[in-house]
Symmetry: C2
Subunit: 130 residues, 2 copies
């Protein structure tokens, strides 16, 4: 559940100090037409949901990079988010025989089933040399 708290936001999330993330009145006249969470806030919430999910690669979730990251809809205060992950590819690393790469598409959905974030991440995992 995404909560709207200007106090918490101002103190802990100074990264998001733009009016559309903090001030309900000011947010109305922006592109978002109302309060919206920062996309980076959504990535952080998504990462928490992922770490707590059934996705348990050996060695933890280690991101080597993200191929694309989109925020198709804003996250609003009160939204309840969940994640769905799809493994797209599993392959050994070309340069390091003791490592492998997993490509995962992670979609974050709100309570109406609308995608609010999609990204394709490349995870690094230790693996046994053949």
């Amino acid at each position: 559940m995404v909560r709207y708290s200007t106090v918490a936001s101002r103190h802990h999330c100074t990264a998001w100090q733009q009016p559309f993330h903090l001030d309900e009145d000011a947010a109305r006249n922006t592109l978002f037409r109302g309060l919206a969470a920062s996309g980076w806030h959504t990535t952080a919430l998504t990462m928490r949901l992922l770490v707590e999910s059934e996705l348990k690669p050996a060695g933890g979730i280690v991101g080597a990079g993200v191929d694309e990251l989109r925020w198709p809809k804003p996250v609003r205060p009160g939204d309840e988010l969940r994640v769905e992950s799809e493994i797209l590819e599993v392959r050994p690393s070309k340069s390091r025989p003791d490592q492998g790469l997993i490509k995962v598409r992670t979609t974050t959905l709100n309570q109406n089933g609308e995608a609010v974030q999609v990204f394709i991440g490349n995870l690094l995992v230790p693996c046994r040399p053949e």
Copy 2:
């Protein structure tokens, strides 16, 4: 300056509850060979630096998406980060005449001048119709 605080991390940043982000001893035996910040933590710190920087597009920094995001080196406790942004492209939106898109490459560097994060972001800006 990136500080190492397990208390703060455990309470506020539950997204990063993996041993290589929190526990110095456990981190030694992971891919990172020591404590490393979460990549999403670095994106948040970078966003703060960006918001406080000279990059002031009309309407604020509104990300439409990220084309690629890489973490070439881990961020370690004690690191001091700074950002460099390069405008790669400015163009009007094809679908919305009142909006434009700016493509920006943002590089986050540590105190040794090493890139710890690079991403190419697409920013949405309001613009005057021609």
